[in-house]
């Protein structure tokens, strides 16, 4: 079983590829059907953000865990331009793009852990983890 997958995100087809691979990895790890869909949805939102706000980037999927628990970590890295106000970007309904402003706050609700780091003019990274219940 592969423990790590990298998907380059440049087009709409890459978004679909990323979420399908995420679902497959989650299924192999033993996630329930509902959690597989939740993980795939989170990946879809993060991958779309890469295309909508940056030129491109990468989604990295990793199976993580220790003796007590197992899970999947979704990392989204983009090529910039960074987020000016992360607090605002994490609010429901706030968007500087054409969307509904649910991508980031919604993804945080879908996943168990969520960390975002960004600076204007630099890359944005989101690391979100879901654990098997």
């Amino acid at each position: 079983m592969k423990n790590e997958v990298h998907i380059t995100i440049r087009s709409g087809a890459d978004i679909v590829a990323a979420r399908l691979q995420g679902r497959q990895l989650a299924a192999e790890a033993g996630f329930s059907g509902t959690d597989q869909t939740i993980i795939a949805t989170a990946i879809s939102e993060l991958a779309r953000n890469i295309i909508e706000y940056a030129r491109g980037g990468e989604i990295q999927l990793t199976l993580v865990g220790d003796a007590n628990r197992r899970g999947i970590r979704v990392e989204a890295h983009d090529d910039g331009p960074g987020i000016a106000n992360i607090e605002l970007a994490m609010q429901d309904g706030y968007s500087t793009g054409g969307g509904m402003g649910l991508g980031l706050p919604g993804t945080r609700r879908l996943m168990d852990e969520f960390v975002i780091s960004s600076k204007v003019g630099e890359a944005t990274t989101v690391i979100a983890t879901k654990w098997i219940r």
Partner: protein, 124 residues
């Protein structure tokens, strides 16, 4: 992948067969808007049973599709949202607004016929 659209009397039925890209979804919206006018359709059913996820983009596109078609005099029903997809949509915070939904294709056709009957009787 282009979504096949079937014409059945005054209804159009679009059955999504697999995961769709953003471009595919926009194509579906445009195809349905075009055909609903050409065939003078009264109702449109979009069957999303095979859709792997309903993310914010898919939700927004289907909602705008329903609103566009309503402005053109047709009703839209989204049918076949799977339980796990519905669960993820709620957690994400997505809503379909006033768009009609139904459990499956059969139920969707019933809803459209009822909706039509309602508007017909209120005209009298």
């Amino acid at each position: 992948m282009r979504v096949p659209i079937l014409k059945q009397g005054e209804y159009l039925i679009a059955s999504i067969q697999s995961a769709l890209t953003d471009q595919d979804l926009m194509q579906l919206r445009d195809d349905l808007a075009d055909r609903a006018g050409r065939f003078r359709s009264r109702g449109i059913i979009v069957d999303v049973t095979a859709l792997d996820v309903m993310d914010s983009f898919a939700c927004r596109t289907l909602r705008s599709l329903a609103y566009i078609l309503r402005l053109r005099g047709a009703q839209t029903a989204i049918v076949g949202i799977q339980p796990e997809v519905a669960f993820a949509m709620v957690q994400l915070g997505l809503a379909l607004g006033e768009v009609e939904t139904a459990l499956d294709l059969e139920e969707g056709l019933v809803r459209l016929r009822q909706g039509k009957l309602r508007s017909a009787s209120s005209e009298k």
